[in-house]
């Protein structure tokens, strides 16, 4: 089981309230990602759940039991830290065994779980090494192994991939997703990277300045961002936001069109001058200037498109997939 409920949770550091009253339900087995720009309070929120920080007010309930006043050790949660936080003076085996040793698990059972975790995480050959002798990815796996053997109610991940290089990051992302599918244990994952959020989450919680901006599945957030912030944050490259007369035509203060919903056409309602074009093979991202609509418009076009810097092109937006926002920046249904 791993059902976590936050009721009107707040957190203040001195006079500064970093988390205003916040409610959130996390269901058993869900993969929940907290995403937001740095300083949005996502890590603080995770640490409140972990019990590494006290809530200022409000309640945290884990599996129906009030956990607000429980110390971290009693919450049956396991955490994987950004720096991995491995014990440098212990071998990999001892690192993984540590939580079980603390819980008084029998030697045979410890051995059994260590072997299981090592096998699942490809660590069998490294069990007697020290963390200092491992690569970043291997350290990450040890940290995960240490979390798994506790058989926790939920896993907490605090930006676990941000210290890895890009190639490893993609691999570990898949491994963690795979692990979630296999264990079916609740996972809460904090990241500032919306790609990680989109690819891994069952449910994304978008945070800004301690506020929840929107909660939903990746596709819900992609299709129906509740406000301008979410619209701008989710999706890569970023959604084009257009204000002024063009928005007025659609009865909105601001309209948003994702780069993939603008096509390069022979003739079209919009036009502009091609600036930099990024050829990725599969796609080409065009940065179009002088559209009179917004500063630079990003357009995703086919991979084989042949346009050059300085060409004037016509663009046609996909009006069905246009997002409309009012003066407060809220979505107009």
């Amino acid at each position: 089981m791993g059902q976590i409920t936050l009721n009107k949770v707040t957190k203040s550091f001195g006079e500064v309230q970093v988390i205003p009253p916040l409610d959130l339900d996390i269901n058993d087995g869900e993969f929940v990602v907290f995403v937001g720009p740095s300083g949005c309070g996502k890590s603080t929120l995770l640490r409140l759940i972990a019990g590494l920080e006290d809530v200022t007010s409000g309640d945290i309930v884990i599996d129906g039991t009030p956990a607000t006043d429980l110390p971290p050790a009693k919450r049956r949660l396991a955490m994987v830290f950004q720096s991995y936080a491995l014990y440098p003076h212990m071998s990999v085996r001892k690192n993984i065994a540590f939580p079980m040793k603390m819980a008084g698990v029998s030697q045979e059972e410890q051995q059994r779980r260590i072997d299981g975790a090592a096998k699942a995480l490809n660590l069998t050959d490294y069990l007697d090494r020290r963390p200092g002798q491992l690569s970043g990815g291997q350290r990450q796996r040890v940290a995960i192994g240490r979390a798994i053997v506790r058989e926790p109610a939920a896993f907490l991940f605090d930006e676990p991939l941000s210290n890895l290089d890009a190639a490893l990051r993609v691999g570990m992302r898949l491994e963690i997703s795979e692990l979630h599918k296999r264990l079916e244990t609740t996972m809460i994952y904090v990241t500032h990277d919306q790609v990680e959020a989109m690819t891994m989450a069952d449910k994304i919680v978008v945070l800004r300045a301690g506020h929840i901006e929107q909660v939903g599945s990746p596709l819900e957030l992609y299709r129906t961002p509740r406000n301008l912030f979410v619209a701008g944050f989710i999706g890569s490259p970023k959604m084009n936001l257009i204000e002024g007369a063009e928005a007025g035509k659609h009865g909105a203060n601001t309209i948003g069109v994702r780069p993939e919903h603008v096509r390069v056409t022979e003739t079209g309602p919009w036009s502009g001058v091609v600036g930099v074009s990024e050829h990725l093979g599969s796609d080409t991202f065009l940065h179009v200037h002088d559209t009179g609509l917004c500063d630079v418009m990003t357009v995703r076009a086919g991979g084989e498109l042949n346009v050059h810097h300085g060409d004037r092109i016509s663009l046609t937006p996909d009006t069905d997939k246009m997002h409309r926002f009012d003066a407060e920046g809220l979505r107009i249904a």
């Binding site: 640490r47 019990g51 590494l52 920080e53 006290d54 110390p71």
Partner: protein, 290 residues
């Protein structure tokens, strides 16, 4: 990272250290203040009447007190001057590329590990002794009269001995600080046309500021209480020529057994040390981010 659990634990964990130090400070301090108001001599048993500030007026009006004050200041100031300036120069020299830098370093810091009584006796007998000391022999070689250091210039001699112990300390710390100076900074300054002198004053000295502060602070703490060197060389003499405040209070209390006056002197010493300490703590508070 802090929860109420951990904060409560933290208070509990700090408590022994704080309580012990608080006890160590307050109990004897209270007693010293109390004794300082009594007529209390261990050689004259009986009741110890309350005499108010009599001990203080006795202690402060004694001309020895002024001498002791002056000697204390000269001692601290003299040693600080020699060790800080000498330490900077030595550190700069050793920091240069030289052969056997490691061995030079080991030789230079060695005196710091010599206990005060050993250092004092070795200097007193084997070097400064006007008959058999090495200095006398050197003077003789040069056709000079041997000089009786401890009789003729007791305070200066003690300043010399203490500096011998503490020059290595200053050198070691300043050298370490110098070695942490990014050499690219110096190279950049050199490219910018700074000569050796301006490199020293504009880059090295500011970099050393923190280390110099610390050298001064730590040494002041120790030098205000210099005792062993005086006890085994001059016993404060001749007369009171090398008596510092610490030695004076010791003499009142444990040689003349006048607890009352000794305590009054102790209180005076504490007040003076606190005046110095306030300055120093200001300085170090700025330089040491806790």
């Amino acid at each position: 990272m802090a929860t109420q659990h951990s904060r409560a634990a933290a208070r509990f964990m700090i408590a022994p250290s704080v309580l012990l130090l608080l006890g160590w400070m307050l109990i004897p301090l209270g007693m010293t203040i109390y004794f300082s108001l009594l007529r209390y001599n261990l050689l004259m048993p009986g009741n110890n009447p309350f005499v108010g500030f009599e001990n203080y007026s006795y202690f402060l009006s004694d001309p020895t007190f002024l001498t002791a004050m002056l000697n204390t200041l000269l001692l601290v100031g003299g040693v600080l001057l020699i060790t800080t300036v000498g330490g900077i120069l030595l550190a700069l020299l050793i920091d240069q590329p030289i052969w056997g830098q490691g061995i030079v370093r080991i030789l230079v810091i060695a005196p710091f590990f010599v206990m005060p009584t050993v250092s004092a006796l070795v200097w007193k007998n084997m070097f400064m002794n006007p008959v058999n000391g090495l200095f006398a022999w050197v003077a003789d070689l040069m056709g000079l009269q041997p000089y009786d250091f401890l009789a003729s210039a007791p305070l200066l001699s003690i300043i010399g001995m203490v500096s011998w112990t503490w020059l290595p300390f200053a050198t070691l710390i300043l050298l370490t600080a110098l070695q942490s100076l990014d050499s690219e900074q110096l190279e950049a300054a050199e490219m910018d046309g700074a000569g050796p002198v301006s490199r020293f004053f504009h880059i090295m000295l500011p970099h050393l500021a923190r280390a110099i502060t610390v050298v001064i602070l730590i040494q002041t703490i120790f030098h205000l209480s210099i005792f062993a060197e005086i006890l085994v060389t001059t016993n404060g003499g001749p007369g009171v020529a090398s008596t510092n405040l610490t030695y004076l209070v010791y003499a009142e209390s444990l040689l003349r057994f006048d607890v009352g006056t000794g305590s009054a002197g102790g209180v005076v010493a504490i007040i003076l040390a606190n005046i110095v300490a306030i300055f120093l703590m200001r300085m170090i508070g700025k330089n040491l981010d806790a």
